[in-house]
């Protein structure tokens, strides 16, 4: 049987995939239309859009291994055994309860407290999120109040606290006691004076 040569098969011209519109542009355009048509605040719609997008396409999370490596690096050790022995680690995590170094939630708690914002939690929106972070997961008062610690004055802190308090005070229609308590704690953390110096 004669072999089929390559030239025997008719050449197919590759079909160009239909051009997909950039979903971000489409969402932005729709937000603009709703703002103009119904007079809804743009930032609310943008928040909603971000929330929906994160729900449908959550950003990739760190694996347990990645979390462990980051924590080992932060405390200057190379494995779990050394970390458990590390005096710095013991001191830094005192008060965090019993921690399992293979448990994802515990590792994320350590990361949040001692390393920083998990990349996939940056820009989070939804309940308890202010200025792109969840205030129940992170103890970041400056970020919550949207202030630069090196520039902000006591007046700036007070103004930022009042602005958020108006929104979250339990007496306000948009109020929430839990969030308000947290804001209070952050405000105290930035302003409270230790009166009784030795």
């Amino acid at each position: 049987m004669p072999k089929k040569t390559a030239s025997a098969t008719p050449k197919k011209t590759p079909k160009k995939p239909p051009e997909k519109a950039d979903p971000h542009l489409a969402i932005a355009a729709e937000i603009q239309r709703l703002v103009e048509t119904y007079g809804i605040a743009k930032d609310i719609l943008e928040d909603l859009a971000r929330f929906v997008t994160r729900q449908l396409q959550p950003p990739p999370q760190f694996t347990v291994k990645q979390l462990q490596t980051a924590i080992y690096q932060h405390f200057g050790v190379s494995n779990a055994t050394d970390l458990k022995k590390s005096a710095s680690f013991k001191l830094a995590t005192s008060g965090m309860g019993k921690l399992s170094l293979s448990n994802r939630d515990d590792l994320e708690r350590i990361y949040r407290r001692h390393i920083g914002i998990l990349p996939y939690e940056e820009g989070e929106v939804g309940y308890g999120c202010i200025n792109g972070i969840n205030i129940f997961k992170y103890d970041l008062p400056w970020r919550t109040f949207g202030l630069d610690p090196h520039q902000a004055t006591d007046q700036d802190i007070k103004a930022a606290y009042y602005r958020l308090s108006k929104m979250y005070h339990p007496d306000s229609p948009t109020g929430d006691d839990k969030i308000f308590q947290r804001l209070n704690l952050f405000y105290k953390s930035l302003t409270e004076k230790f009166e009784q110096w030795p």
Binding site: L91, T93, S94, G95, W142, R143, P149, H150, F194, Q196
Partner: protein, 338 residues
């Protein structure tokens, strides 16, 4: 920096020779004055036992012995670098012991709340060995870094103005301190505080817990000593109590001291405390002597015995009147969820 001395035993062990061999070397060094093998008292060693001539060596003294060994038979494989590292390790060991001592002497404010230990600001300043103004600066720096959060790193208890710092707060402050101070020995001190504070606090808590057992043991011994009879009525009683002559709550440092305990009938015990105005009153041995003189004057031997105990125990200050020591704070202060 303080001179570090190591004992002859340790040095011999480090050099891989026996103590007798080290003595022979010392004798060889001392035999001919002003030769190339010289050990100078004060610079290279100090005498710790004049009768036996036992020495403790400085780094230079240890180095001289090592040089001699290498010159002689190259017995030792240790180098000068090893000696330097070894002395550095010894110095660090001693510093850590000092840090432990500093923590022990300055943690009378220790308290466990919200599942973690807290120390007053005053105690933390002393433990870190710094000045108030520097510590204030440190607090501001840590706060600017957003690492001083109320109820995690610091707190105030019961409307008290005293700020308390948690162990994780000490971690953040010691870190910030390590970043801004320049002197190496102060940096090392901060590092050592960070390393030692958790194990030392745990050891202190264990000791406090053990004290309760010691008190029970002492009470059993008191009953045995008093032959299980009431020392006031000098009769057997259906129920006996072991009374603290200096009250346990106000004189905790005497709580496990046998001389501070007396076996009495429950009935007498209750009567004495009623006479005092309640169980919460800070009773002393003087109160008990007064009580016996008033209510049981016939028991003259007991009055003699109580005066003996008073002499044995000496003058005592209640908690709060002098500096409280962490080892005598009430157990409930360091227990979970108090």
């Amino acid at each position: 920096m303080a001179v570090v001395y190591v004992s002859s035993n340790k040095l011999a062990d480090f050099l891989g020779i026996s103590v007798n061999e080290l003595k022979e070397i010392e004798e060889y060094f001392d035999r001919i004055p002003d030769d190339q093998w010289e050990l100078k008292e004060g610079r290279d060693y100090r005498i710790v036992n004049k009768r036996s001539g036992l020495r403790e060596y400085t780094q230079s003294g240890a180095h001289a012995i090592l040089s001699f060994l290498r010159f002689q038979e190259e017995q030792s494989h240790k180098s000068s670098g090893d000696i330097k590292i070894w002395f550095n390790q010894e110095r660090r060991k001693k510093q850590k012991a000092l840090v432990d001592h500093k923590i022990l002497q300055n943690s009378s404010s220790l308290i466990k709340r919200q599942d973690q230990f807290w120390l007053s600001l005053r105690d933390v300043v002393k433990i870190l060995g710094t000045r108030d103004d520097f510590f204030r600066k440190l607090v501001e720096i840590t706060r600017k870094q957003g690492k001083l959060i109320r109820d995690i790193h610091y707190t105030f208890f019961n409307n008290d103005n005293t700020a308390y710092i948690s162990l994780s707060g000490i971690y953040e402050l010691a870190n910030a301190m390590g970043q801004i101070i320049k002197q190496n020995h102060r940096k090392e001190w901060c590092q050592d505080v960070g390393e030692r504070i958790t194990p030392q606090i745990n050891a202190i808590v264990k000791e406090i817990q053990g004290r309760q057992k010691q008190i029970e043991k002492a009470k059993d011994m008191a009953k045995k000593r008093d032959r299980n009879i009431c020392k006031v009525t000098q009769r057997a009683a259906s129920s006996l109590a072991v009374h603290h002559l200096y009250s346990e709550a106000h004189y905790p440092h005497l709580a496990a001291n046998l001389s501070n305990l007396i076996t009495i009938a429950d009935e007498i015990h209750n009567h004495f405390h009623q006479w005092m105005g309640g169980f919460n009153q800070a009773c002393t041995i003087d109160h008990f002597i007064q009580y016996v003189l008033e209510c049981h004057p016939e028991n003259t031997s007991l009055i003699l015995w109580l005066n003996q105990q008073k002499e044995t125990l000496g003058q005592q200050l209640p908690v709060g009147a002098g500096k409280e020591h962490v080892l005598f704070i009430p157990l409930k202060r360091v227990m979970e969820n108090n």
